[in-house]
Amino acid sequence: MKSQTLPFTGTPEQAAELQKVIAELKDQPGALMPIMQKAQGIYGYLPIEVQKMIADGTGIPIEKIYGVSTFYAQFNLQPKGKYRISVCLGTACYVKGGDKIWDALRKKLGIGEGECTSDRKFSLDSCRCIGACGMAPVMMINDDVYGRLTVDQLDGILAKYN
């Protein structure tokens, strides 16, 4: 099932944390990206509600914030799964069969690029090199990196997150 726009469920604590970040950074030159990165750290993604809070806090127009958020691949406008799977499709991994890992995961999870399983457990993305090319092919699940992957290992790895 595709991820749908879910109602925003930010807490007052998260909002307070964001306000603190904005107050700390906003007078630095070029503060917008660091603020957005920290905001994504707090909320896990950058829904329009959070972008509006940044706009109000910094005085930067919302159109500009939205423009920046859509330019960079790392900013997520949609929430991710509890376990974020990211398969490297950089050159070293592609040549070593990274696309086979990618195809197998799509089939196993029944979701495509940027999507989330209906229980919100797993989300699937591809990425372009995480710098572990010597271990190609590589994928990440949250902060865990798995190298020298084969399709046979996938079930065992996914089971660890169940």
């Binding site: 920046v68 050159t91 070293a92 372009r128």
Partner: protein, 613 residues
């Protein structure tokens, strides 16, 4: 800290501390993906349990180079080289090697114990002995988390000498004389860039480090940042002094969280020691460094886009002129260099321009780090003098192609680069020689391909990358690359004509000439160079509707060799499409219309009767 004596005293103390203990060096760079953190924890636990904690030190290092053998553990003294270590092997190493003084031969890197009478040191193995590490000289040898270990290996001495003994002009002259050229891709002379920045009257000026490392398949910058972060801080501070700047930025890609963390720690330590920040070495010179994280856009590796991104905007390149040396970050004069470029600088200051110039070739001095990956036995980082041949890197150092396969081509320069076919294996790897044969040095990614790689498919792979990463600001790149990709798709599906090939070539030159930034200008390179060297492979796809490497799914045909088929029926029973017919003990046949090209039949045939092509 103020005087050289103080710095040298610190150095002597650090060296003594390092020499006093047995050091267990565990690669905690990329090897973390094969479990090196567990290995480190196991060592710490077993060493404590054995009561060795005050004699043995466990050090988490950056990449040691031979990543395909990871996790790697090296024990000093002796430079004893363990490969593929997991936590279950640690107990035995602690008992027999650390307690008993006898290395555990069965866990050592096989080449080091090939001769039963002695154990080779890591540096004596084929992979390491032809290398010359300048940029990577500390990687894998020191703890990146301790400034003292960097100082033990001459750290911050170059900065001291610059601030106390050299005029800014002299430093710029040394950079010019060294012949150092930028390692980020373009190979622009570093000294010239510094001179231009130093000449600018406007202030403030900025010194920037490009740590965006966008070429997918390259990770040398990551390894320097993670394995030796202080060298970047020292070099940037020297650049600041030489060009009259007090503000530095390091733009690191967000995919490198460990690098960011180690840089933060390093900056903090350098502040505390007084080698960064206000009044460095009490000379009155101020220089500080801020980290900025990228957010996953390849184009932000391009200089002007990087600066636009630090300013907090969509990272789109700017029209040039003005050049960023004049109007760069925040419209102020800015000096941008790559990580590996900076990593060479402190040593050039300490050992002199002539020392550096004597390494490499006349037009390309020094060394280059390559990230070697793909179909090759030893994947990892290789640093060699410029001018080393591709053959030496692929065969002598990296051990050739796995399974006795045949070298088909190597791609250098990533999505902006080109391929080098087997005929050119003896090409010297330096800026000018690579350019001459239609490839480029790029940042040092080196992907090796064998006969199972389809060159059209690879060209398509790179084009997909550029289409994804084009920022969309100018038409030739935004629309042109997409049209190129459409044609490549048609070719790999067997639907293209020879006119499409002509159109493809026209598009290449149009995009190269009319794009605004380097991304678009170089986007056609992979197509141009594969067309130059592997044209017949394109023609096979177009005219014969055949993919010689058996990669392009639509064109692959599985066929049964009647003379080899024993009629065992295995293939037919495993075919999901019921595409195989034939009676028992009679030759079988595949119905090409029904076949899904899944390959199950081929892997099930015990008689090697099925082939694809």
């Amino acid at each position: 800290m103020k005087t050289l004596e103080e710095l040298l005293k610190l150095k002597a103390e650090a060296q003594a501390a390092m020499a006093q203990k047995t050091r267990v060096l565990v690669c905690c760079g990329g090897c973390t993906s094969s479990g090196s953190l567990k290995v480190t924890a196991a060592f710490e636990k077993e060493i404590a349990a054995a009561g060795l904690a005050d004699k043995v030190q466990v050090v988490k290092t950056g990449c040691m180079g031979l990543c395909s053998q990871g996790p790697i553990v090296v024990i000093q003294p002796g430079n004893i080289f363990y490969s593929h270590i997991d936590e279950l092997k640690v107990g035995k190493i602690v008992n027999e090697h650390l307690m008993g003084g006898k290395p555990v031969k069965e866990f050592l890197y096989p080449e080091t114990v090939a001769d039963p009478d002695k154990i080779l040191a890591m540096a004596e193995t084929n992979f390491y002995k032809k290398q010359l590490c300048l940029a990577l000289r500390n990687c894998g040898h020191i703890s990146p988390l301790h400034i003292e270990e960097y100082i033990a290996r001459d750290g911050y001495e170059a900065l001291w000498r610059c601030l106390n003994e050299k005029k800014p002009e002299e430093i710029v002259q040394t950079m010019i004389d060294s012949g150092l050229r930028g390692r980020g891709g373009a190979g622009f002379p570093t000294g010239k860039k510094w001179l231009l920045a130093a000449q600018q009257k406007e202030t403030p000026k900025y010194v920037i480090c490009n740590a965006d490392e966008g070429d997918p398949g390259a990770f040398m910058d990551r390894s320097v940042l993670e394995g030796d972060p202080h060298v970047i801080l020292e070099a940037m501070t020297i650049a600041g002094y030489a060009t009259g700047s007090h503000h530095g930025y390091i733009y690191v890609r967000a995919e490198y969280p460990i690098a960011v963390q180690r840089l933060e720690i390093a900056i903090d330590q350098a502040h505390k020691l007084g080698v960064l920040g206000k009044n460095i070495f009490e000379t009155g010179f101020d220089f500080d460094i801020e980290l900025r994280l990228g957010a996953g856009a390849f184009v932000c590796g391009e200089g002007s886009a990087l600066m636009t991104s630090i300013e907090g905007n969509r990272g789109e390149p700017r029209q040039k002129p003005p050049r960023s040396a004049e109007k760069g970050l925040f419209q102020k004069p800015s000096l941008l260099n790559n990580v590996e470029t900076y990593a060479n600088i402190p040593q050039i200051i300490l050992k002199g321009a002539d020392w550096f110039k004597a390494i490499g070739t006349e037009g390309s001095t020094g060394t280059k780090v390559f990230a070697v990956g793909g179909k090759i036995n030893n994947t990892g980082l290789v640093e060699v003098p410029m001018g080393t041949t591709l053959r030496e890197v692929v065969y002598d150092i990296c051990g050739g192609i796995p399974g006795g396969g045949k070298f088909k081509a190597a791609q250098t320069g990533g999505p902006s680069g080109g391929c080098i076919p087997a005929d050119h294996l003896d090409v010297k790897m330096d800026f000018d020689s690579l350019k001459k044969i239609g490839s480029m040095m790029g940042s040092g990614g080196l992907i090796v391909m064998d006969e199972h790689t389809c060159m059209v498919d690879i060209a398509k792979f790179f084009l997909e990358f550029t289409v994804d990463e084009s920022c969309g600001k100018c038409v030739p790149c935004r629309i042109g690359t997409r049209r190129m990709l459409d044609i490549l798709n048609k070719i790999t599906m067997g639907q293209a004509t020879m006119e499409d090939l002509d159109k493809l070539e026209e598009l290449c030159s149009h995009i190269q000439q009319n794009s605004l930034c380097g991304l678009g200008q170089s986007a056609p390179n992979p197509v141009v160079s594969t067309l130059k060297y592997f044209r017949d492979e394109y023609i096979a796809h177009i005219v014969d509707k055949r993919c010689p490497a058996g990669v392009c799914k639509k064109l692959v045909r599985y066929t049964i060799d009647k003379t080899k088929c024993k009629g065992c029926t295995m293939c037919a029973r495993n075919c999901p499409a019921v595409a195989i017919s034939g009676s028992i003990r009679q030759p079988h046949e595949i119905d090409q219309v029904k076949c899904l090209k899944c390959g199950a039949c081929m892997s099930n045939c015990k008689f090697g009767a099925i082939s694809k092509g």
